[in-house]
Symmetry: C2
Subunit: 342 residues, 2 copies
């Protein structure tokens, strides 16, 4: 699914606007850094790997934008930092911007436009690599699924959250490609409803069996024996294997643990942050209360009521059965398996 692409004709980053799916398929055009930061912060595009890919293209726009500035290197530095800092939790964001800046180390460019050309190739490669990696992860992960399994997933860790194939849903796709019949339970994922809107949307498109339930149903669905495995994505993974992912993931992991259901995280190495030793040190984004308060522009709350809207939570490593990566399935103790695979 091509939902992120760079138009050379328009010199724009073009994103399928995830705020309006599945009702409308609208495209959001980014002309400059400001647009990219807006698209990331307002979740026109979301999902850690997709954020990384978009940020890489964003750097290209930043380089184009500074062309008429005298000290363009300094101006560019400020702009790429704005992109890197637009959201706090996803590791792939800083990773992608660093990958872009690392690529130009020891290289000379006569102008920012020349650098932009070079960076566009880099961004395209980061994008292509993300899809390749997802498919490799999918292959490893698919071996964990049996024909007939029902997989619960939380949020959207699919094509729309990545360069175009998916981490958690990539595993499902690969299993289906192996000929296995897989059913997905998509938790709706309030407040942004990524599960109901996005996971259901892309699985329906692919003809994969999907059923949606409210987030608060997850423990009961396990209680009823309706869930064989859980697979989720990740926004950042600490050195000890603690996982920051969409708010609610931790609750799903607790319920899976209670019912003896394997709980897998699927994430590329760009999601690992080895400098963060444990999950409690990962910054958790606190978003606007209005995301909870308004649904389809109608308030569900009495006026003036306070709201908590933490966007992520931390699932402790001990609740995780395995982490599906492009180098295979990492097992406990994660400190060691993460350290050994870099």
């Amino acid at each position: 699914m091509e939902h992120i692409y760079f138009s050379k004709q328009k010199n724009k980053l073009i994103l399928l606007d995830q705020r309006y799916l599945p009702l409308k398929e609208e495209w959001f055009e980014c002309s400059d850094t400001k647009d990219v930061v807006y698209a990331l912060q307002e979740m026109v595009v979301r999902g850690a790997p997709a954020i990384g890919v978009s940020a890489a293209y964003g750097c290209v726009l930043a380089a184009m934008e500074v062309q008429s500035i005298n000290d363009w290197q300094k101006a560019l530095n400020i702009k790429t930092r704005q992109i890197a800092e637009s959201r706090p939790t996803a590791a792939n964001l800083a990773w992608a911007v660093k990958a872009m800046t690392d690529a130009i180390k020891d290289k000379y460019f006569a102008s920012s436009l020349e650098m932009a050309d070079f960076w566009l190739e880099q961004a395209l490669e980061i994008h292509a690599q993300d899809i390749r990696i997802n498919k490799i992860m999918g292959g490893y992960g698919a071996d964990l699924l049996n024909d007939g399994d029902t997989v619960m997933t939380h949020c959207n860790a699919g094509a729309l959250a990545t360069g175009g194939y998916g981490t958690a849903l990539g595993v499902v796709r690969a299993a289906v490609e192996q000929g296995k019949k897989i059913r997905v339970i998509a938790n709706e994922t309030r407040p942004f409803l990524q599960g109901a809107r996005l996971t259901a949307y892309e699985l329906v498109r692919d003809g994969i069996d999907v059923v949606v339930a409210c987030d608060n149903a997850c423990a009961h669905l396990m209680q009823k024996g309706l869930v064989d495995k859980v697979i989720v994505g990740a926004d950042r993974i600490a050195a000890n294997g603690d996982v920051a992912n969409k708010i609610g993931t931790y609750g799903v992991a607790l319920a899976a643990d209670r019912h003896g259901i394997p709980f897998y995280v699927a994430a590329p190495f760009s999601t690992f942050d080895r400098e963060v030793l444990s999950g409690d040190l990962i910054p958790i984004e606190n978003r606007t209360p209005d995301e909870v308060r308004f649904i389809n522009n109608v308030s569900i709350l009495p006026q003036g009521v306070e709201v908590y809207n933490f966007a992520f939570d931390i699932t402790p490593a001990e609740l995780i059965t395995g982490i599906i990566t492009e180098k295979g399935i990492l097992k406990k103790p994660f400190e060691r398996s993460i350290a050994e695979n870099r």
Copy 2:
């Protein structure tokens, strides 16, 4: 809060329509059994004790309705059974209809209207008793709360779920009346949003501090140390202490257990069903997918996607710290404490 009352002038049961709160304060008028069944099934009124009180008044309307029928006792029997069977999970529904029919055993009525007069007195007493019992429970429960506590609650177990004071929120109200400062975290409670719409509404009205969060945030809020106690209501309690309550309660209990947070259930004895030995035998209502699919009349899902909409779940007795009743706090082993208090 008077949200259920019988108008003698109109011969109607009048209900504050909970489907439209907090946006609109509309009143729904029930003229006959059909209206009452509709109001219960469509959740014009909901909450186990409020369902019981409404059903009692509904029996009065049923008795009025059969006045011109020759074999009115038989016709009435059919109508009261329709009320009792309108929803499957809440124990208070069958309890209230049984209390009404028990009250006329060995009594002679010349007409159904004579019986309706007698029943109206019974229904008013069931209603008044519910409020009295809630206040007694509130007194017992309030002693469990410390000044400054933050109490998480799920769904609405407040004035709107009862005759007018509340079970879980009755405990909070009683603690506040004791002069304690209590903060409530209301889980929004998808799909009907009882927490966001109803719990927040009535606490704001009473000037009690309330903050709303999405259901999937509950484990993270505990992880952050923001929750001191959990108090929820119940729809049916089995003989072994397993509790059927609004979908999501079980997940909250699992998270509370993990974080060592006391988890209390507040419910009158009319919610206990001693004939049901354990929670897995309690029927769980499976409601229309449209409740999940549409929010404010807009679909959040791609067309044709299947939905799970189980309305309740079962919290195993072992996860419950205590059950707050009108006879005091029941402790483990619940088999014994429930059997001893009848």
